[in-house]
Amino acid sequence: MVNLKLPKGRNSLVYANPLKRITAFLLDFLLLYFIVIDSFASYFVKIFPKESASFKMSYSYALMHQATMMHLYYAIIAMMAIIWFYFSFMQYKYSQTVGMMFFGLFVESTVSKELTFWQCAIRNIYLLPLFPIYLIWVISPIYYLFKGERMLEMLSKTKTTEVIKYGY
């Protein structure tokens, strides 16, 4: 028999497992809770008086204090903008966020060898709670059901991949 001297093991880049992607995303959000969200938490708590313990009371309070609710909305936009920057920058610089590092997931460009910042910014834009961006939260899952890929990945010409080792 001819010894073809094939390598014993191989790495293959495949589309990432959705479960791994979701877990990586949750891990990132856990990290972001301590770094970003916690800083805003005391402000969010301060907005509502202690008496508004139930959702109904908080909602009534919100209706009566529209200026305060606008402030709250702007604060949420600022917080999500920082989170969006985290995802965009990390994926642009290292092709992966901290959560993705745990699962060996990477962001790849489908059109060139180098990812641009704008590609990463667009693929994560759903994080910004602005109109019409938050319509993506409704459209994207429907698109995924029919096409099997994220709408924003299609628009940003990126994909999420993972390294599969076999033959080792």
Binding site: V36, M64, I82, M90, Y94, M101
Partner: protein, 304 residues
């Protein structure tokens, strides 16, 4: 297509995450300090008079005084607001500019709604002048009030500069043009002029308090030594109306207007520089407080 990837540098990632944290903290602090929504059901406005009182307000990032311009603007807002039936001045100030205090006092007199002064830690000198222009003064028994006097003291460096052979070259047109200059010794006639001026201002202060508090000028003169009084003593002297806190203010206004008092704070919307100033003064104060506390607790350590 294999995307080109940068090597992971954990140090850079940590620095990036720390920067994100700092950015979040500053942004959240900004929002926390800029939010000042009014209570739509409020019928009594609270206007704060904290720190040094001046006509133009604080200059630096580490000051937190009160400007008479700002207070007059807020009083005007409260006066024009048809929902507001009374005004409470939340006072915690050792005084400041006589002109600023008088400006606020004059504005208070022009408002027909009931006005109450609620003195917290201190309501002295110019702050007391303002309080006396209200209809009712409430202070804690532990508050410091009074200091009905005028001060014009300053440090004179004339001997100091003589010691270092520095010459003060006096070039003036007008004999008293450099009166009060810290670089020359004050002459006897200059001191007399200054004292006359201070006495004149003192006189205005005494007359104002006597008129506002329905006291005789002679009685106020006896109190107007610049002495600080406790809130409890102030009541016996007629300088305040009631000893207590906000509940006494509510009680008075409730009886006077036959309402259930609902407060809202009237304050100017903080500009970006106001917020930066407040942030740096609060953090500076906290840092100093922490260092002071640490040094205090470790005094024994330092001595040995």
């Amino acid at each position: 297509m294999d995307t080109k990837r940068n090597k992971i540098n954990m140090f850079h990632i940590v620095i990036f995450l720390l920067s994100l944290w700092l950015l979040s903290f500053l942004t959240a602090s900004f929002f926390s300090m800029s939010d000042n929504d009014k209570n739509p059901y409020a019928n009594v406005a609270i206007i704060k008079i904290y720190g040094d009182i001046s006509t133009t307000g604080s200059d630096g990032y580490f000051d937190s005084g009160t400007s008479s311009n700002d207070i007059i603007h807020l009083l005007d807002e409260a006066d024009k607001d048809s929902g507001i039936q009374a005004i409470v001045l939340d006072i915690n100030s050792g005084g400041g500019s006589g002109v600023a205090s008088e400006e606020i006092g004059q504005k208070l007199k022009s408002i027909n709604k009931p006005k109450v002064a609620w003195i917290r830690d201190i309501g002295a000198s110019g702050a007391y002048w303002i309080a006396s222009d209200t209809d009712y003064i409430v202070a804690s028994r532990l508050s410091l009030i009074g200091s009905i006097g005028v001060i014009g003291s300053y440090l004179e460096f004339s001997e100091f500069i003589d010691r270092y052979n520095i010459t003060y070259r006096r070039l003036v047109a007008g004999k008293y043009k450099d009166m009060g200059s810290p670089f020359k010794e004050m002459t006897l006639d200059e001191e007399e002029i200054m004292h006359e001026l201070l006495d004149e201002l003192h006189g205005y202060f005494i007359l104002e308090v006597a008129k506002n508090r329905n006291l005789s000028v002679d009685d106020v003169k006896k109190l107007a030594t610049g002495e600080i009084f406790s809130g409890a003593k102030g009541k016996t002297l007629g300088l305040i109306d009631e000893v207590g806190g906000i509940e006494k203010v509510s009680e008075y206004l409730g009886k006077e207007l036959n309402i259930t008092v609902e407060y809202t704070v009237f304050e100017d919307e903080a500009s970006f520089t106001d917020i930066l100033r407040k942030l740096s003064s609060e953090h500076g104060f906290s840092m100093g407080k922490g260092i002071g506390s640490y040094l205090n607790n470790n005094q024994q350590l330092i001595k040995t």
